[in-house]
Symmetry: C2
Subunit: 344 residues, 2 copies
DNA sequence: TTGTAGGCGTTATCAT
DNA sequence: ATGATAACGCCTACAA
């Protein structure tokens, strides 16, 4: 009769003595179903080890059971944490994760993403910063009818379309900590132009400086782009400054590692001669020397929650609207901060 | 007539004045086709911006255009490099990448993977170490009829199913470099039990030691599991050894970073008091202090090639059999190695 | 509460 | 070389 291959909805229907549609109703948790028939069908499904074919469902529903992750290669660890967070939510569901890095800067980026979403008819996408900050992209998802959730460093969208961290306030607190420790000449390494996270962190820094009534020359602010190398260069520039800053806040951990490297290259010791704070708390932070004081960015938790916003309604795991939209970052104090040296 | 939605094969057929099947033949590069009709159809396809629906194809072909990446969370950077390598090959093709981490150790791991492969009817899977070393898993792929390529640290399978690096020889050369630099008391931090890569690297180390006619006590070998923490612990153990080793080879970079950390904690300076070599050349290697001498593992290139083995025949990008199966690792000399201290 | 007919967009079979 | 027809496995609309 049937092949030894996978059982289909027809096999289940025949053995259960019902129509395909009834089986379909069972699969889709239709409420209007006799309890007896449901139990009978479920029994057969179990016996047969039947699993609905996702491709057939996708064709009929005009929608896949795939979640896309679109990003523009921010730091490796960030991407990986987000993947892990999403997959934690997706585990035990019928959804799978398709990763799709793109090239911000490419003029065809939006077209590329559109093609990706339309072709694959994704159930939904997760947008990672910084491209998550692009409102055109969000509009595109809406137009195509693809669910989306944006991850960011500030509130960018309606609650069901966004999870955000409070970067500004977190950096303000971190900077205030430096000030309370006695620092007055504090350098700042910026994130890349155009990144919302970079802007938020800068503002947080400036909030704290202003609140303390400190005046800082513009030359104590250096550009960076979230890479180790840019942190190294920025550190060099800031440490050339006279009088030398006694502390530096770098807008992410990789750049902070670069700053420490720069300090060491010129014989300065951290934290004796220079205090450093980073942002992210990625694994490198705890593994460099000295262990880095940093702001812990709850990116994995954000990703988990974002994924739940996407699929929660469909899987019954939770209610998208009820998921929190704001995640708080907190300062992790390690060994890279000390009071400033007595004499300059 | 038709919706404003995506054009289908029917639209193309009608406008080109041919049957669906002919369009299908054009799409699939069927050789038996009149050049005129082909050109005409291609013209219409272009005009309409028609893109074949992957879900429908998947249903008809009983095979998806998805490549799976199955791994058991080795180091973050390794996973990410592999993803990038695969995606480089997949770019401009119709394939997408689905990531599927699993839990080695879980007794249901094989069942989980089977379910994943059967449900999604993947075109193929890439298997990352260490689970790529599992022959049962390869047999499972064969049984299901899912293409697969295994990545590993030694030749595990037929050439079309495998890309490998020459870890043993690479570590032998690295260790020989330590010996040539003057070291005789060299510690070894192992990778996890059961990992082929760990075994290969250990053998390479022992090859070099034996070739130099050195006798090393077993106490100069310490267990590790590829994490920073395990490297820290192993470093502590080895540095307790008297007389102290003057050099340590750690089976990956993260553990090497841990060893350096351990040395620093007891006031030893690298490389003045202790030389260290790692393996992988992941970004952390260049960013710690001192920059780490290490073996560069061409993992991204391996992944690119592995993906080509998987989809090359289908996309016409290349011939699976022609792709190389062995990738050579090479020693990257940085600042973490120096001659041993004069006095013990 | 359950079933029937038809369609989702593609490919395979077998003609012509 | 090309086309008609029937899958592929599921879902929606409409009946019953």
């Amino acid at each position: 009769m049937k092949k030894s291959a996978q059982p289909t909805i027809n096999d289940v229907a025949r053995l259960a003595g019902v129509s395909k549609k009834t089986v379909s109703r069972v699969i889709n948790h239709s409420p209007l179903l006799n309890d007896d028939t449901r139990k009978r069908v479920l029994g057969v499904i179990d016996d047969l080890g039947y699993i609905p074919n996702p491709q057939a469902r996708a064709l009929a529903l005009r929608r896949n059971f795939l979640i896309g992750l679109v990003h523009d290669n921010p730091t490796a660890q960030t991407v990986l944490s987000v993947q892990q967070g999403i997959l934690e939510t997706l585990r035990e569901t019928e959804f799978e994760l398709v990763i799709h890095p793109v090239n911000r800067g490419s003029p065809t980026m939006l077209d590329d993403i559109r093609r990706f979403l339309e072709r694959q008819r994704l159930f939904g996408v997760m947008l990672m910063p910084p491209i998550s900050e692009n409102d055109e992209l969000a509009a595109l998802c809406d137009e195509i009818g693809c669910h989306y959730v944006r991850m960011g460093s500030a509130e960018l969208d309606a609650s069901e379309h966004m999870v955000a961290s409070n970067d500004r306030e977190a950096v303000r607190a971190a900077t205030q900590y430096l000030i309370e420790t006695g620092h007055r000449r504090i350098g700042l390494v910026l994130g890349p132009h155009g990144f919302r996270s970079a802007r938020e962190r800068r503002q947080g820094f400036e909030d704290a400086i202003a609140a303390a009534g400190i005046a800082l020359p513009a030359s104590l602010t250096a550009d960076g782009n979230y890479t180790f190398e840019s942190g190294l260069a920025a550190g060099d520039r800031l440490l050339d400054h006279l009088p030398r800053p006694t502390a530096i806040f770098a807008s992410n951990d990789e750049m902070a590692a670069g700053v420490i490297h720069a300090a060491r290259q010129r014989g300065l010791e951290v934290p004796r001669d220079l205090s450093v704070i980073g942002f992210d708390d990625n694994p490198i932070a705890a593994h460099i020397w000295p262990p880095l004081t940093t702001v812990r960015w709850p990116i994995a938790a954000m990703a988990r929650s974002a994924a739940l916003k996407l699929v929660g309604d469909a899987t019954g795991q939770g209610n998208a609207a009820a998921e929190p939209a704001i995640f708080l970052s907190s300062l992790i104090r390690r060994a890279s901060v000390a009071p400033p040296p007595k004499v300059d």
